[in-house]
Symmetry: C2
Subunit: 313 residues, 2 copies
Amino acid sequence: MTPLTPSPGAAPAAFVAVDWGTSSFRGWLMSAEGSVLAESRGSEGMLHCAGAGFAPVLRDHLSRLAAPETIPVLICGMAGARQGWIEAPYLNTPTRLDALHEGAVRVDAGRDIRILPGIAQARADRPDVMRGEETQLLGMIDPAFSGLVCIPGTHSKWVKIEAGAIVEFATYMTGELFSVISQHSILAYAVEAAGQPAANSRPFREGIAAALAAPSGLTSSLFQLRAAQLLGFEQRGDGTDRLSGLLIGSEISDATVRFGRPRRLRLLRAGRLGELYEIAVRERGFDVSADDAEAASRHGLSKAAINIWGAQF
Amino acid sequence: MTPLTPSPGAAPAAFVAVDWGTSSFRGWLMSAEGSVLAESRGSEGMLHCAGAGFAPVLRDHLSRLAAPETIPVLICGMAGARQGWIEAPYLNTPTRLDALHEGAVRVDAGRDIRILPGIAQARADRPDVMRGEETQLLGMIDPAFSGLVCIPGTHSKWVKIEAGAIVEFATYMTGELFSVISQHSILAYAVEAAGQPAANSRPFREGIAAALAAPSGLTSSLFQLRAAQLLGFEQRGDGTDRLSGLLIGSEISDATVRFGRPRRLRLLRAGRLGELYEIAVRERGFDVSADDAEAASRHGLSKAAINIWGAQF
């Protein structure tokens, strides 16, 4: 929630960029050149706002940012979901990332506030959706980029991009399964409460190796994690790392079946989870180049804002 | 909890058989020939008794069964776990099923009360444990049986038996994952609360087919289940069946990698879950012969009781 104080003589504020997720709000006061003048963060994500309302939460953050009343606001993420503020209908694959702003939906309010759309893969055999990651992708790639991108998270995404267009993607429930299984299943007895996986431990690497060696065996490997402790092969302190390795390894194993194994992989990193994925995908033989996920969001919002309002900045 | 009233002139009571699981107690007053004279059931499983004590719960059920004070009691299941009443240490694979009674541990009490051991696969690469299923297996097979057995449940087991000995087995967290995912993950929005999977529905069969077609793709298929509903390809009413199909299909897919695909499969059926598995394994091409799981428990306890006390019956 701490606003950055703009330094004297900084570029003037041109717009406000907002990444509004399921459980978090991140807003930035931006210059026309895409530099950050102030920042405001909070835990008022979609789940919170579904009850409390979106408008008052945004108003508070705008006032913390000291955003001039005349500048517009561009939002990406779950605020545009059907259960969000205003639905910004999905664009369907294949879709060029630099056309994202064309699907923005305007909120009916005094200020010019728009929400970017998510992207849907509307195929009965591989239905999938994203909201927020498309803006990160827009921010991280060149307009002519072709390649494979991995975006770790609660619902990790693997995205195949051809000449600047998303052609196919897949979501893995890795992060959410980690949390649900470690809290609510018998494995709660096999992991440390509130344990954070260590980025480079033996059990983490063994979990990845086990998942790669038995690609279909996840639901059995999960029980083995518990049995290994009952039989004295492992300690409870190993559980969090091994569980993390099994789930991330299972995701990578399937993603390489689905998207092949190009030499290079772009990874959108955020925090500890980003470190874990970087180790795991290198283990799988990828040449990784990593970008910062949050900077990518901001950069994507800036690119779209310039497409929408550039002339008036 | 309803005791059966022994019919006049029935065989005399020889022993009490108890299947004492994590969350249930099932006791039977048995004749020397293995017929059931009375039955008493309750929800006082290991989890309950860890606090309330095992001895008083058993005493209550023995009195409901009107069990003569002179007859012994044989118990299988989680009551023999380390967190149970008295630990009955695991026998290690490979182990003959008809040697199970040799590992029975006697509870220090006035009456002759013994608990059968579980079985461990004490291999660092495939650690696994069972408690209760070994007694069902003893009950269902002939002493010379060779073949593959599937025991559906919260923690499903696939067991390879050679000439009456368990040589290898694998546990799948299928039932528990179904419950945890449908209650605590985002899929709670995609399944009906307290929904019971239907045994032969289209989404159930499609879930199985999807799991068999993409053996490594479980954590992605789970998200697709939600996305299919967001995009209008499926209804929420389909969610429970599809989730069940995906998880059971994933189990069967891996079990056939691990144990091969013998023509015949023995299935230990109990209730609705048994029906679902019977459909799913037939779909996979097995010739199935199904036995009743509870009768198998009772029969296994009888075989072991005769081995222990047969001379005095």
